[in-house]
């Protein structure tokens, strides 16, 4: 018989925000007491769309029966983690980013069972690109090059190649001077 995984996010809401505490509970039913070898609970993001799937694990917890011989792993177990600043859930044209809580149960006979609960992290507007494309701005045309007396911001630095963001942004202003 397949194990029945009950997983609940305790503070469900349409959108979870970075920095919030995500709490959940996991309970396993329909299997015997010592049938479970281990249970893994993961909070992760993964990509969907045209590209190959990428995965990023934010929270991982593994409970092995041998580590807790006196505890019934089937019993209700609570987990919690602080949600990161990024990457936010995103529904793009060819790239999508999804967040979920995943529980995987490994049985002593080699079988596995999996359960996922999706949630939304962040408030990226679903139509931000479509709406703003309609506001494409063509502010001015020029017949000749203007020698403007501007004071370009100082500081030279290197080009950035779009880093993987998984933390807090740095403070202070930074200027780049990227020339081709």
């Amino acid at each position: 018989m397949e194990p029945l995984i009950s997983m609940t996010i305790l503070n469900p809401r349409p959108v979870h925000h970075p920095g919030e505490l995500l709490e959940g509970e996991v309970q396993i039913d329909a299997v015997g007491e010592r049938v479970i070898r281990s249970i893994e609970t993961t909070v992760l993001w993964f990509t969907e769309g045209k590209g190959d799937e990428d995965i990023g694990v934010h929270f991982f917890e593994s409970r092995q029966q041998e580590d807790f011989p006196d505890i019934d792993l089937r019993e209700l177990h609570r987990f919690s983690t602080l949600l990161p600043q990024s990457p936010l859930s995103y529904d793009g044209k060819i790239v999508k980013i999804r967040w979920c809580v995943r529980t995987r149960v490994f049985l002593r006979d080699g079988r596995q069972a999996l359960f996922e609960e999706a949630f939304v992290l962040g408030d990226v507007q679903s139509d931000w690109s479509g709406n703003l494309q309609a506001e494409t701005k063509k502010p001015e045309t020029s017949d000749s090059a203007d020698a403007t007396e501007t004071q370009p911001p100082a500081e030279a630095a290197s080009e950035s190649s779009g880093p993987l963001l998984n933390g807090h942004p740095t403070d202070g202003s930074t200027t780049i001077n990227a020339s081709s």
């Binding site: 925000h17 990428d54 990024s86 790239v95 017949d143």
Partner: protein, 195 residues
């Protein structure tokens, strides 16, 4: 085009030079190769054209200087406004110059044994468009703008096979030559939210 001209011109010139040498040697021994002499004129004409074309391409590409892009702060945050400064140096006449803020999604995937990459533009905002722009060494093109990252926009993201990238794109068209696009990456962070 410059590379192609740089390869073609000396090769054709060498072949043409060999033909001339052969014709001269034939003339010295009193032998006349009419086929060689017939082919010599058009070969020489093409050789002269190739050298002139190479010289023109060299002048064209050296007339375009570097494009400079400066921003008032990095990383950027959606909903915030920044200052952007763009400069273009050189000695050239531009048919059109366009500066825009773009956001692109990039996805890399396997198709059989090939690895393919697809890029799609999901946001574009023209910040400046100029026509018939003349750039001279004494007066380079310089413009300063306000740049706003749309509120609620997606931040920069990169993983092994997927990316969301923000860029400043400078697109240039010339009267008689193909234009180019130069892209300068920006970094956009999500709004920092406290727990």
């Amino acid at each position: 085009r410059l590379l192609a001209a740089a390869l073609f011109s000396p090769l054709w010139g060498a072949a043409n030079a060999w033909m001339i040498v052969q014709a001269i040697q034939n003339a010295r021994v009193g032998s006349v190769d009419w086929l060689l002499l017939t082919a010599l004129a058009p070969f020489t004409a093409v050789s002269i054209w190739a050298v002139a074309y190479l010289f023109r391409q060299f002048l064209f590409y050296t007339a375009i200087g570097p494009t400079g892009v400066e921003v008032s702060a990095l990383p950027m945050i959606p909903g915030e406004t920044y200052q952007l400064f763009v400069s273009q140096v050189g000695r050239i006449q531009l048919k059109r110059l366009e500066i825009s803020l773009v956001c692109e999604e990039e996805a890399q995937f396997h198709q059989g044994t090939d690895i393919r990459k697809e890029t799609t533009e999901v946001f574009s905002k023209v910040l400046y468009e100029g026509v018939d722009v003349t750039i001279v060494p004494e007066q380079s093109f310089e413009k300063q703008f306000e740049l706003e990252i749309p509120n609620g926009a997606m931040h920069s993201f990169a993983s092994p096979s997927n990316a969301v990238s923000w860029r400043i794109c400078v697109a240039v068209d010339f009267p008689r030559e193909p234009g180019f696009r130069r892209k300068f990456p920006l970094v956009v962070y999500p709004k920092l939210q406290e727990a």
